[in-house]
Structures are given as structure tokens and as C-alpha cells.
């Protein structure tokens, strides 16, 4: 999606540049623009812009990332950010000891095809919980805020190691903050997990 966004930006910006260049070059042959033509052009521009924005609104408002709970998640992962690491666990992380243990535990294994609900919070400052694919593409994110639990839902279909990096400046170790989990083919799992009760290996 990001690359499509970039090319959309590039395409529209190219049109903007072209218009500005055309207008600048028009000053080589001074003449007065036709008022009626200008009004028609402005009307066309206004209509096109509003139509474009409305279409974009209609197409995107239905794709909000906020959980709607119409479908139960296959797996719940509790995520707590604290300077400077992410604790990930399939059990609730309630204390600093829980967080500490979760940062040392083996990465959680997520069966391929699972809808995962990350329940994200922070024990200190604002962090940004950013989930990255094995190839380094940002898949989704949510703020980790002290005093709040935000829920991010993502479905994972491609096996590999997924990374969690911090996306909100949180101090001098901001760039060091990481977590990881593995998406494994369903057949590679050693036991069938019970959603919400899967214990991290360790």
C-alpha cells in the first residue's frame, strides 16, 4: 500500500509541477485570460477535487484499522512497551517482572493464517507498536500508551520472523527497542494452540 501511496503522490505532484511550469512559461507571451474560461476551469477543478475526495473517503472509511470484534481472534498476544524493549506474551503482562520475563522468553509462534489480536500498552511513556514483515515492510501499528490498552488486529499468512519496532520517540534507546515473533506453517507446530492460552516456549 505504501508504494501505491508514493506513486499516487508522485503522479499528482507531477501534475502540480507541470501546471506551475506552464503558468510560468505563459508569462513569456503576456495576455489576459478569458474570464468565462477561468470560471469554467475553476468550477471543473472544484468539482473534480470534491468528487475525488468523496470517492477516496467512501473507499477508505470502510477500511479503518480499529477492531470491530465481528470475528474472534485466533490468538491474543499481550504487548507491553517499556524503555527499551517490547515484552510479548500470550499471557497477560501485569507487572514489571512479567514484562522482564516476556522479553527473555522465546519468540511466540503464530500459526500461519491466524488472526492475531495484539493488546498493546506501555508501562512508562508513549511507544509506537509497529509490526514489520520479514522483508521489513510495516504491516500495521498502534500507539502503546500508559494507562490504555489498544487492540491491533492483523492476519499473518506468510511464515517467517516478524519484527516489532518502536514508532514513537521514547528516549535515547528508541532505535534499540524491538520484539519478535515467528509465523510458522500450521503443520510445523508441535501442538495445537488454544486461542488466548498458548504458552510461550521457554
Amino acid at each position: 500500500m505504501q508504494i501505491r501511496a508514493f506513486f499516487l503522490f508522485a503522479a499528482i505532484s507531477t501534475v502540480v509541477v507541470a501546471v506551475f511550469v506552464w503558468v510560468a512559461l505563459s508569462t513569456r507571451r503576456p495576455h489576459e485570460p478569458d474570464a468565462a474560461a477561468v470560471n469554467r476551469l475553476r468550477g471543473w477543478f472544484l468539482g473534480t477535487l470534491i468528487a475525488g475526495l468523496l470517492v477516496a473517503l467512501v473507499l477508505t472509511v470502510g477500511r479503518l484499522p480499529y477492531p470491530r470484534h465481528t470475528q474472534p481472534a485466533n490468538l491474543i498476544i499481550y504487548a507491553v512497551g517499556m524503555q527499551y524493549s517490547w515484552g510479548l506474551s500470550t499471557r497477560p503482562i501485569r507487572t514489571q517482572d512479567d514484562w522482564q520475563n516476556s522479553t527473555y522468553a522465546n519468540p511466540i509462534e503464530v500459526p500461519s493464517g491466524s488472526l492475531v489480536e495484539f493488546r498493546v500498552t506501555s508501562f512508562d511513556v508513549n511507544h509506537g507498536f509497529g509490526v514489520f514483515s520479514p522483508s521489513g515492510r510495516l504491516l500495521g501499528e498502534v500507539q502503546a500508551m500508559p494507562g490504555y490498552v489498544n487492540r491491533l488486529r492483523l492476519r499473518f499468512t506468510t511464515p517467517g520472523t516478524y519484527w516489532v519496532f518502536c514508532l514513537e520517540l521514547c528516549g535515547m534507546g528508541h532505535h534499540l527497542m524491538r520484539g519478535e515473533f515467528n509465523v510458522v506453517p500450521k503443520v510445523a507446530q508441535h501442538s495445537r494452540p488454544r486461542p488466548g492460552f498458548h504458552a510461550a516456549r521457554g
Binding site: 485570460p33 477543478f45 470534491i50 479503518l64 484499522p65 514489520f132 500507539q143 500508559p146 514508532l167 520517540l169
Partner: protein
């Protein structure tokens, strides 16, 4: 211009001299600070590129990042206020005392900020997101946090006073209904005295939300003080985030809109055509006044705790704020120049190109203000890409255009073709190369504000190196601009500052 101001009965010749003097000082200071903050921006990208400085502690990176952010935002708001005040003097008596007070306050705050960041390593970022200033993990001291907030309070205080005093000066000449152009909506534009010029309307639209933003900033500071002093008090993180982003959004919009107002006022003289007030301009800017107050909501899309109605409101408002900007200001700016007997100088070229930068920055912003897209672009380099486009290629070009125009006006030394054909292309190539690299890096998921890119995102280093090269070109353009424009300012000083 001076005689025009005096003849209009708005200013005495003494007023004109005082205003010229303070504006001269602001523009000179702006040039020097722009170079300094551009160089510290290059330091940041060099650090990330692992070409230079990367053996220094990352704490220094985050501290310089904080200084760069506050410095640039503060610098351009100050410069926009100064330039707008100078031009508003054609119609009102701007508060010169507030300008001098802001200058003094800015210098004191700047000194504090330099010490707080580079010496004491305060690195919470320019918008000091709660509660990070309190949670440094030993990187910076409580004294550093206090000093940072003292500096911010000084800045917000002088900006608040300057904004209020300017609004008061406007309302002294134009009643509010007239100043907001409402007579054009009722079809009685020709009645009841002089009409309001676009610059006055736009200044009000910029400064009213700005005042709200600065008052809001003091509310944020108050919460910090209460938490510091009252045991067991913990501010609500979501409330603080809303308050903080409202402040920063109003500050940014005030700067941008004042820059656009300056273009409305100055560009017509170069085009040989007027930019007259009309119903469309009134509609557009009154709409902007309302929309801008809610636009900050687009900073909180990834705070899922925020009510969903507010999130969708943020997207709707962000989308439709593009309409008045594009269909009126940018369209009319293009129409002003189209086919005109245009006097192309460094000043007029920069102001024209600043409008283009505003448009392009807006495209990036509208895309990012789409919630579903924001979920994969938020806090990547896309975010600094769009606001650097708005600033560096938008309002900064507009204000450099003003500074160039002022230099020519005060010194009488005309523009040179060499300057036009060297400085402008360097600024464009360097600036757009820099921001396009940021957009591309953001589209490739590189996070913003990272001192060191992890191995899993190692292509961020390559993008940083490309950015370093373009910033160098931009800085060269800035240097040549400062030399070219600076010689006019030096000539004014050499003339005994008989402004």
C-alpha cells in the same frame, strides 16, 4: 512602501522607521539561524547515514533532533510574524513593541534550548510528548526538563502576546465582521468604509487559532508542573496528547497561512495585477478558520483509544481543508501570474515556487491523513517528508522571497540574473531531492527519529546518504542566497541603518 504607509495616515514616519528596523533585524537573524539549523539537520542525516558523527552517543542525536525541531518551527513562526507585520503596516499599526519583545524572548529561549539540548542532552523531541520529559532513564536531568519548559513557556508567551497585539491592531481599524470579510457574503462589499485587504483577513485566520494553540500550550505546561509538584498526580496520556498536538498544529498552520498571506500581498506587484478581495476568498478563508481547529485530530489516528467519531472527523476535515487552499489560494495565485507581464526576480520566483511547495506538501499530507494509509505511514519518514515540503519548499521559500524583496527595497540594489539562475535551481534541486528521498524512505517503512537503523531496515542508511547529498546542495543554495541577499543588508548597515 514607507511613504505609502505614511500617506495612508496609518503610520508616522517614525513608526515606519521603527518597523523597518525591527524587521531588518528579524530577517538578518532568520538568515543566520536558518543556516545553523539546516546544518544541524545535515548532522542528523549524516549520523543516520553512518558517514560521519556516528561514533558519537545517540543521546546527542536525539538532543540535536529536539533542538532542530523547536529551532526550525520557532524560527519560521517568528519570521512569518515579522514579515506579515511589516506588510500589515500598509493597513494597520502593527505592535512594534511586541516584535522587539519576541526577538528578546526568542534569543533567551534559544540560548536556553542550546544549553538544554547540546549540553544537558534533553532529547524528548520538539513536541515533548507526555510523559517522556519525566522519563529520561538518566539521560537528562530534572533541571534540563525544567529549563526546556521555561524556554518553551518564554516562546509561547511572546508569540501569544505578539499574536494578540496584532489582532488588537487589526480590530482597531477593522471591526471583526469587516476583518473577516463578511460583508462580501451579504453582497454589501462596497458599503460602510474601506474593504479589508486579503492579507488582513488571512492574518486573522492564522492568528486566532494560533492564540488558541498558545493558550493550550500553557495548559499542557500547567499539567507538567502539577505532576511535578503534586504527589501521585498523573495526567491522562490521551488528554495530554490531544492538547499537545493541538498546539503544534496551530503553530504550523499559523506559519503556513501567514506565509501565504505574504504572497497574496507581494506577488501582485510583480505580476502587475491586483489580488482583490472577493466572495470566494472570504468563503475559503472563513472555512479554513473553522477546519483548521479540528485538523490536529489526524495526528491521533494510531491512538485507538480516541473515539472513532473523532478519528473520522479528522480525516474528513483534513481532506476538505485542501479545498479552499487549492481552489482559491493556489488557483488564484496561478491565475495572477498566468500571462502576466511578470517581473521575475529571486523574490517573485521564490514566492511563486513556495505556492507550488505548499500544494505538493498538501498532496502528501492528504494521502497520509487517510486513516487506512496512515496505519502504515504514521511515524515513518513520510511524516517529516510532508512537513518538510510544507516548510522548506513552501513557507520558507515564501519568506526567503520576502527577505529578498526587503533587501532590494531597503538597499536599492537590484536583483541579479546570476542569483536567479543559480540560487533558485539549487534550492529547488536540493530541497525537492531531500524531501523526495524522505517520501521514498517512508514508503519503504523507514521509521522517523531513529539515530541508528536496525539491520532489518538497513536500506534506511542508503536513503540517508542520498538525503545528505541533496541537503548539501540545498545548503549551498541557502549560503548563496544569504550572500546575495546579505550584501544588500550589509549595504543598509553601511548606510548607517538609516531605515
Amino acid at each position: 512602501m514607507g511613504s505609502a504607509m505614511a500617506d495612508a495616515g496609518v503610520q508616522t514616519s517614525g513608526d515606519v522607521r521603527r518597523l523597518r528596523r525591527v524587521t531588518f533585524v528579524w530577517m538578518a537573524l532568520a538568515g543566520l539561524l536558518f543556516l545553523a539549523f539546516a546544518l544541524d539537520g545535515e548532522f542528523l542525516r549524516l549520523y543516520q547515514s553512518r558517514l560521519l558523527f556516528f561514533t558519537m552517543r545517540p543521546e546527542l542525536f536525539y538532543a540535536v533532533l529536539t533542538l532542530h525541531g523547536v529551532g526550525m518551527v520557532g524560527l519560521w513562526l517568528d519570521t512569518a510574524l515579522a514579515a506579515a507585520s511589516y506588510l500589515l503596516a500598509r493597513y494597520i499599526r502593527p505592535p512594534v513593541w511586541a516584535s522587539w519583545l519576541a526577538l528578546a524572548g526568542t534569543l533567551v529561549a534559544l540560548a536556553l534550548l542550546v544549553v538544554t539540548t547540546t549540553e544537558w542532552l534533553f532529547g524528548a523531541g520538539w513536541y515533548f510528548l507526555y510523559p517522556l520529559p519525566f522519563e529520561s532513564q538518566g539521560t537528562w536531568s530534572a533541571a534540563a526538563t525544567a529549563a526546556f519548559f521555561v524556554a518553551m513557556a518564554i516562546l509561547c508567551g511572546v508569540w501569544l502576546l505578539w499574536s494578540l497585539a496584532t489582532i488588537a491592531a487589526i480590530l482597531k481599524r477593522y471591526p471583526l465582521r469587516v476583518a473577516l470579510g463578511w460583508r462580501h457574503l451579504s453582497g454589501r462589499a462596497g458599503s460602510q468604509g474601506p474593504d479589508v485587504p486579503p492579507l488582513v483577513l488571512i492574518a486573522l485566520v492564522a492568528l486566532i487559532p494560533a492564540v488558541a494553540g498558545f493558550v493550550d500550550a500553557f495548559a499542557v505546561f500547567a499539567f507538567y508542573v502539577i505532576q511535578w509538584r503534586v504527589k501521585d498526580f498523573v495526567a491522562n496520556a490521551l488528554l495530554m496528547k490531544n492538547l499537545t498536538f493541538f498546539f503544534i498544529q496551530m503553530t504550523a498552520y499559523a506559519t503556513m497561512y501567514l506565509g501565504v498571506g505574504i504572497v497574496y500581498e507581494l506577488l501582485p506587484a510583480f505580476a502587475g495585477r491586483p489580488w482583490k478581495m472577493n466572495r470566494l476568498i472570504v468563503l475559503a478563508w472563513n472555512a479554513a478558520l473553522v477546519l483548521v481547529l479540528f485538523s490536529y485530530l489526524n495526528h491521533l489516528y494510531m491512538d485507538y483509544a480516541q473515539p472513532q467519531a473523532l478519528q473520522v472527523t479528522g480525516q474528513v476535515v483534513s481532506y476538505f481543508s485542501a479545498v479552499p487552499a487549492a481552489v482559491v489560494s493556489i488557483f488564484d495565485g496561478l491565475l495572477l501570474v498566468y500571462g502576466a507581464r511578470m517581473r521575475w526576480t529571486v523574490a517573485s520566483a521564490l514566492m511563486f515556487l513556495g505556492l507550488m511547495g505548499w500544494a505538493i506538501g498538501g498532496v502528501g499530507a492528504v494521502i497520509d491523513s487517510t486513516i487506512s494509509v496512515n496505519s502504515v505511514l504514521h511515524n515513518t519518514l513520510w511524516v517529516p517528508a510532508h512537513f518538510h515540503t510544507y516548510y522548506v519548499m513552501g513557507v520558507v521559500l515564501m519568506l526567503l522571497g520576502f527577505a529578498s524583496h526587503l533587501g532590494v527595497e531597503l538597499s536599492g540594489i537590484p536583483d541579479s540574473r546570476l542569483a536567479r539562475f543559480l540560487i533558485v535551481p539549487l534550492l529547488l534541486v536540493g530541497g525537492y531531492g531531500f524531501v523526495l528521498t524522505l517520501f521514498w524512505a517512508g514508503a519503504h517503512s523507514i521509521p522517523r527519529r531513529y539515530a541508528v537503523y536496525p539491520d532489518e531496515l538497513r536500506w534506511g542508511i542508503g536513503y540517508a546518504r542520498t538525503g545528505v547529498a541533496f541537503i548539501a546542495v540545498l545548503i549551498l543554495g541557502v549560503l548563496l542566497f544569504l550572500l546575495d541577499t546579505g550584501r544588500r543588508y550589509v549595504a543598509v548597515i553601511g548606510d548607517g541603518l538609516r531605515l
